[in-house]
Symmetry: C2
């Protein structure tokens, strides 16, 4: 590798292989179908408010992914006030975890492709909901989150204005944030085993 | 306990304390403020597409919950095709886990209060998204899920019609399902550490 190559091919920014990111963008520009992903989860009820998901396979970049040798497993539970015994975090808390992670990864990715180095990034999330919705006590009360607030602490090698631009872009391009902000259809079909 | 009490106070249906559920409903009817919950998560970026959430405290039923002696921890990661090394499931997969769990728990709870015994319940979820949204390659492409399909297998001691009523009620009363189906505002504020 000569000096020119060394300068023009930074391999890692923010722990991400930027060249691989640009290669992915080029491949998708040449074939939009490569951008289509299908993610999946399987869940089995255990008892009460306890159930467990297994997550392994997905489709993306034109093929079934085979990179995972074992499935991830996650257990939903409920605290005593919600009739459980803290067998796991509960589903609305896992939603906050998904949102925190997606906003973080989206920001770190777009920082990397813009050449911005992130030194620190942490978030705190809060979401309010009114259990009358879940319980069906008042049909004017939405069962889901009323709103979700994210406080983000970032230290990066750029100006505050550049950081605010990056944050605004992140908010509108994070897949989980967009799924929460936008009405996304959920279809439930009852099937034979 | 006499026979009358034994018949009128079934303690557990589907692994849930039904009397406690009715007591909760009565308490909320007497004071709507007890239905207000605030759930929270804290997340710290590690590197690339890896970050970790801690979840412990929340507010509900008029007070700060103190039932959890330790925090739950969950790690987001990404598969190699998305520039990671499978350090964990990724955020859009955790969203499916949250949705699966919430639909399941909502159904099991409302079955219990209706006196329906669930014998088996499992779900398979699929959600499509187009990575051009995340990458900002086409602003007409939404970054989030286009739709999410849930196939649910249930065995219960009731008719198919009763089960379909329960499922329709579940779809509109599950907090995570409602958060996905409805536009929920997400505010991101940048703060000093």
């Amino acid at each position: 590798m000569n000096m020119q190559q060394a300068i023009s091919q930074p391999t890692s920014v923010n722990g991400l292989d930027v060249q691989a990111a640009f290669d992915t963008v080029d491949a998708i520009k040449a074939d939009n179908g490569l951008a289509k992903f299908e993610f999946r989860a399987r869940n089995a009820w255990i008892s009460g408010g306890t159930n467990r998901s297994t997550i392994r396979d997905f489709y993306g970049a034109g093929r079934e992914d085979e990179s995972r040798t074992e499935a991830f497993e996650f257990t939903n539970g409920e605290p005593p006030i919600l009739l459980g015994n803290n067998e796991g975090a509960n589903p609305v808390e896992f939603l906050l975890h998904a949102l925190a992670g997606c906003v973080t990864t989206t920001l770190v990715l777009h920082a990397a492709v813009r050449g911005i180095t992130i030194n620190e990034l942490s978030t705190e999330l809060e979401g309010e909901l009114d259990a009358r919705g879940l319980l069906g006590l008042d049909e004017s009360v939405s069962p889901g989150y009323e709103q979700i607030r994210i406080r983000m602490h970032i230290v990066a090698d750029c100006s505050d204005d550049t950081l605010d631009d990056l944050l605004a872009f992140t908010r509108t391009h994070s897949p989980v944030c967009n799924t929460v902000c936008r009405p996304v259809p959920v279809m439930i079909e009852r099937v034979k085993a």
